[in-house]
């Protein structure tokens, strides 16, 4: 079964990832959607998508559009996160250049997975002020995982349609499991 990340998912991810809400009800993505002084480049977004393709389960489709929306929301009015993401991507590309003579986004899916494991990203403690791999874990890997698993689509993959971080209303907690 294929799970397309929907606009609802992107909105959920944005609200879980730090986009200020208008008022105090349901979240809104209204606004200019522009990042701070140094917005993410197309290459940054392509790299985030390439990482997402490794991190997300096979059922998740249309990762690029989701990552694009998520990345915009993540960086709006948060220049420190722009810096964190871009520096992590720079490190990732430098690492891949030394091993494969190519940027991360140019690698095959298997090579991307191998790269992340070889650098220890699967065992690194996320730390926004830590070393290169720890920052990559925090700003890129964990944020992309959070974006998925705090969304209805990601939640449904593991059995919860209203996961923590998603404002999914008050009906789901009362419902029993589907027969």
């Amino acid at each position: 079964m294929s799970h397309k990340l929907t606009r609802r998912d992107a909105i959920a991810a944005l609200s879980a990832l730090g986009v200020s809400l208008a008022g105090c009800g349901a979240p809104s993505t209204d606004g200019d959607g522009q990042a701070g002084d140094r917005p993410l480049t197309d290459h940054d977004r392509e790299t985030l998508t390439a990482v997402g393709e490794v991190l997300y389960p096979d059922e998740v489709d249309e990762i690029d559009a989701f990552v694009d929306r998520y990345a915009t929301g993540r960086t709006t009015d948060r220049p420190e996160h722009v810096d964190g993401i871009t520096e992590a991507i720079t490190y990732l590309d430098e690492y891949c250049q030394s091993w494969f003579d190519a940027d991360f986004a140019a690698l095959s899916p298997a090579e991307r997975d191998e790269t992340l494991r070889r650098m220890g990203a699967d065992e690194a403690e996320p730390d926004p002020e830590g070393g290169d791999v720890e920052q990559l874990r925090y700003f890129v890997i964990d944020d992309l995982l959070l974006a998925l698993y705090a969304s209805p689509t990601g939640g449904e993959l593991v059995g919860i349609e209203n996961p923590p971080g998603h404002p999914g209303g008050l009906a789901s907690y009362q419902r029993g499991p589907e027969p």
Binding site: V19, S20, N162
Partner: protein
């Protein structure tokens, strides 16, 4: 910037602390036309709550970071046999600890005001439930409480809660059947979160991250009454920690609160009345820091009991898995509980809970809670597993879905040996001795935790659950409710404040905090804090 934090002229009232107690009092007095200045040690946090929620979901951020606790400002010493995680347990800033609280708001039972008379331990309150009853109703209206009148164990109330209770969860229905078989009555939970729009705040939208951050604002926090207070004319200064209180030559009245500003300046805020509302740790600390030649042991401390009788609520819990989906973590609050074992914790039930092997007088109160957030959260698993891809998805799916748990708050017997004092070997960012928390658990409290565990095990066994964890006497922790450190009483030799929350020693110094609780039952304290604050506000106003 300095001009923004200079002292006010002509203040009627100086309130120290912008948490729920200080906010409610500031609002009531300002609305009454009085000149009110509020001094808050921490900052105004602004509106970026989704960022804080994100941080709360990231395992890279420790809980104290979420509301910016820690560092030299918040240094402390834990000296008892049990380490006390003070900076997990409080928030400094406008809104205070309601910024990270769970939002459970129960009235104390009638029994809680007379524990010494009934059970021969601790001390009675100098007031009864009937003295506080109307203020409980006012507090429920002020905070916005969603509740129902379905609890057979609570004392009488005068009208329904302001909002209907949240409906039971799916897992509540699982527990309800087991509890019915065992003869345990379950009922709704009063919540200080909106089940419908209330007081210009939205209904809950189900973020599921209530503790420590409600991004929607549906959960009450005291920024609400700070804003109301400011609209009514109160002046609220943030980042101005009070260093000490000064008294007049006769030693009968407070004349000024001396506070520091971020620019390193110091000002004296004079007022006719002073309300100390800085929580159960900083309230006694300010009194102890305010020693003088006339009061070498600190202010309001002729009894020697400032800081003494520090007590908490203990958590007891038992959890496991069953062969049915339990649908946890859709919301971050609870919707069912039981007060069955509150007034009479030793009593058994007709359905299968055996009586305890001790009398109820040998046990404290127990409040059972049926958790809606048992077991691993999928998001937390995703970020703590380390892996990714299909394997991560499968591990989360396997771990999520069948957990359930019964928690409990357990009353701690207040004891003189537990205290909040000053550690003069360590200083904060202003050179003041840091608070020392000395906290231990007595045998009566341990027995009560064991009793709670036994009841919890019986419920899970009735469900044929596999019990996978338990929090008992050996690994229990505090519920982050700081009580008893300036307790209320009729005898000035045995207490700090009188029945009005006015200090025995100083004629214009009031205390609004759970620090005045002689005993704390097993109820989350904030509704009682609010009710006492509203009652104290009336007494303060009589002096203006």
């Amino acid at each position: 910037m300095s001009a923004e934090r200079t002292a006010s002229d002509g203040a009627d009232v100086c309130v120290i602390g912008a948490g729920p107690a200080g906010a409610l009092i500031a609002h009531r007095l300002a609305a009454g036309g009085h000149d009110v200045t509020v001094l808050e040690a921490g900052p105004r946090f602004g509106r970026q709550r989704t960022e804080r929620m994100e941080n709360a979901l990231h395992p890279a951020h420790e809980p104290p970071e979420i509301w910016e606790m820690g560092g030299q400002r918040d240094a402390f010493t834990s000296s008892g046999e049990r380490s006390y995680p003070l900076n997990h347990a409080r928030v400094k800033g406008v809104g205070g600890s309601t910024l990270h609280w769970q939002g459970m708001v129960m009235r104390l039972h009638e029994r809680d005001f007379a524990v010494a008379s009934r059970e021969g331990v601790a001390a009675d309150w100098p007031i009864e439930y009937t003295d506080l009853r109307s203020y409980y109703a006012a507090a429920e209206a002020a905070l916005g409480v969603a509740g129902a009148s379905d609890n057979p164990f609570v004392p009488p109330r005068e009208r329904p809660h302001p909002m209907p209770a949240f409906d039971p969860s799916h897992s509540d229905s699982i527990f309800a059947k087991a509890c019915e078989s065992l003869g345990i009555a379950t009922h709704s939970v009063p919540n200080a979160r909106n089940s419908e729009p209330y007081d210009d705040r939205s209904a809950c939208v189900g973020y599921g991250t209530c503790q420590p951050v409600c991004p929607s604002g549906a959960k009450y926090d005291a920024t609400s009454h700070i804003e109301k207070a400011e609209s009514a004319g109160a002046r609220v200064l943030d980042r101005v920690p009070v260093q000490r209180l000064e008294h007049g030559d006769a030693g009968e009245r407070i004349t000024a609160a001396v506070y520091a500003t971020p620019d390193g300046e110091t000002f004296r805020q004079e007022a006719r009345q002073f309300v100390l509302a800085a929580g159960g740790v900083e309230t006694p600390r300010v009194l102890l820091l305010s020693d003088s030649p006339q009061y070498p042991d600190g202010l309001a401390n002729s009894s020697g009991l400032v800081g003494r009788y520090f007590h908490e609520h203990l958590f007891a819990g038992t959890g496991g898995v069953i062969d049915r989906e339990t649908r946890q973590h859709h919301v971050g609050f609870n919707t069912s509980e039981s007060h069955q074992f509150y007034d009479d914790p030793a009593a058994g039930t007709d359905g299968g809970i055996p009586p305890a092997d001790v009398d109820s007088a040998d046990l404290g109160a127990i409040k059972l809670e049926f958790l809606n957030y048992a077991g691993p959260s999928p998001v937390e698993m995703a970020l703590s597993d380390g892996g990714w891809g299909n394997e991560l998805r499968d591990r989360i799916a396997d771990a999520y879905g069948h957990s359930l748990a019964v928690g409990a708050l357990v009353e701690q017997t207040p004891r003189r040996e537990n205290y909040v004092g000053l550690d003069r070997s360590t200083t904060d960012d202003h050179g003041n001795p840091v608070p020392e928390i000395h906290w231990e658990i007595d045998d009566r409290t341990r027995r009560t935790i064991r009793r709670a565990n036994a009841i919890q095990e019986a419920i899970l066994t009735e469900l044929d659950a596999e019990i996978t964890w338990q929090v008992g006497p050996g690994n229990t922790g505090p519920a982050y409710h700081h009580m008893g450190t300036t307790r209320m009483g009729a005898d000035p030799g045995e207490s700090i404040v009188d029945h009005r929350c006015l200090t025995h020693d100083l004629a214009n110094l009031w205390i609004a905090s759970s620090s005045v609780f002689p005993t704390g039952g097993a109820m989350n304290p904030s509704l009682s804090i609010a009710a006492l604050a509203l009652r104290a506000a009336e007494h303060v106003e009589e002096r203006l």
